[in-house]
């Protein structure tokens, strides 16, 4: 149980040098995701045009797993349709639950390094925080709609 292979170069890289950790002024959706047990707190911003996620970013604080996972998720989802992104979210959650196939996990690309997090229940919430927030945005688009003029603080928070 104790080979925490996920603290590898891929993960630390995404944590130390994230590609997508910045604000996104023209975001269409913006939702805060919070993991109270860990104190992880991210704000996920998405720009969606004609059903395609054309841009995305996150800001926030938290452990390396939550931050890197969100960064890897955006890597994967930008350029995908909403449906494709939600399918990847399902695969990611399935990977954590141990129900995803190897082929499916392949599709997650770098995010596949978090496979073994399922052995660390206390950290599962960190790994899925970004993905869960993504699902929530599309579950209730109205609630997650970015409100221009209100700054980046989104009106709604989704708790893990």
């Amino acid at each position: 149980m104790q080979n925490n292979t996920f603290y590898n170069e891929i993960l630390t890289q995404h944590n130390m040098d994230p590609y997508h950790k910045h604000e996104l002024d023209d975001a269409d959706f913006s939702l805060e995701g919070v993991n109270p047990s860990c104190g992880d707190d991210i704000i996920l911003n998405l720009k969606v045009e004609n059903g395609v996620i054309t841009n995305g970013s996150y800001t926030g604080d938290g452990c390396a797993i939550s931050q890197a996972s969100a960064d890897m998720m955006l890597d994967l989802c930008i350029g995908k349709t909403k449906e494709e992104a939600l399918r990847l979210a399902d695969i990611f959650l399935g990977m954590i639950k141990g129900t995803a196939t190897d082929e499916e996990i392949e599709e997650l690309e770098e995010a596949g390094v978090l496979k073994d997090i399922s052995h660390m229940p206390a950290r599962v919430k960190c790994a899925v925080l970004g993905w869960h927030t993504l699902q929530e945005i599309f579950r209730d688009e109205q609630a997650a709609a970015a409100k221009p003029g209100e700054g980046i603080r989104p009106a709604n928070v989704c708790h893990m």
């Binding site: 603290y7 630390t12 890289q13």
Partner: protein, 407 residues
Amino acid sequence: MIDERQTEEIRRDFPLLSGDFAYLDNSATTQRPMSVIKAVENFYTSCNANPMRGLYDLSIRATDSYENARSTAARFINAAPDEIVFTRNATESLNLAAYSYAMANVSAGDEIIVGISEHHSNMLPWQMVAKAKGARLLYLECDSEGRYTLESLEALLSDRTKIVALAQVSNVIGRENEIKAFARAAHSRNAVFVCDGAQSVPHMPVDVKALDVDFLAFSGHKMLAPMGIGVFYGKKALLEEMPPFLYGGEMIEYVTREGATWAEVPHKFEAGTVNAADAAGLGAAIEYIEAIGLDNTAEREDHLTRLMMEGMKGIPHVHIIGSSDPSEHHGIVTFTVDGVHPHDIATIMDSDRVCIRAGHHCAQPLHKALGIMSTARASISFYNTEADISRFINSLSTLRRRMGYAE
């Protein structure tokens, strides 16, 4: 002092410590020696019956075993046996104080004073009472090292103060508070003093008479005993006046359709079938600690704490919460590492087979006051070895590099 060789002998009493890891989460729960495990087993194999109810030999043995454990617990903190109520854990003990004493004695406009560093178990019950009764909850503030002063308590105390609740040792800071002086100050305003002893009773001689606290709460599982047993101490006169908390079998004298009269203290507070097996385990745990001697265990814990803190001081970017003096930590060393989230610290340490804890340690308001989201905590017991400390220090010294930092 207990040396390394003696520690090896002691560790042979603890089945789980034969594993290849450094267990440094002792403030969360300790390991159990075989004598405690056997005391529980022995109860079930030789005197298992419902104590206090039966009229046959087996049940009498069960009752004797249970009441002996009560006397042992009483002796350990210099109380009388009928001042000892067995509960599940310190949390239930503190809730008992809140539901029974406080709900009956706090009125609208009254004040309750609670330390800002308190464990949630010694804070939320008082928030509950304050809300239910329209009383004011005042927080006693500590400095950045977790130190409380008598002056700041005196500044908060008033004739409206009904309760002062403070831990003898905080589970984050590790420092010992001057309970005796604080209790005296509370009494000078006719307030009762509730002492959370969850982190002190396992590590130092605690004498309720000398401290003159009104209530004391602690958990067995933090002092080698089984998980299902805790203690609520209350001064006899207070216990006698207090209404019951949990209602049911064994805590009554008479019951009619209209109401009931209550059994004598402490039975009034022990509703339903008691956990006699785990009480026997607590008795055995206390006897184990007494055999080694609290002075010896404290000295050993102090030595290991010193070793740990010295090692940590040599590692850049590591910050210890609280005093820089190891003797003010009682085995509790809470820390942060620049740029590494405490949960990542704990997970990586786990891969090095070092067991520590990370998070808010059930003390969110303290973390808020300190301006930190969360911390990591290593906590020491007398059965830890110098090798445990080295393993911890070695892991800590590589942490930042493994997270991608240059140093």
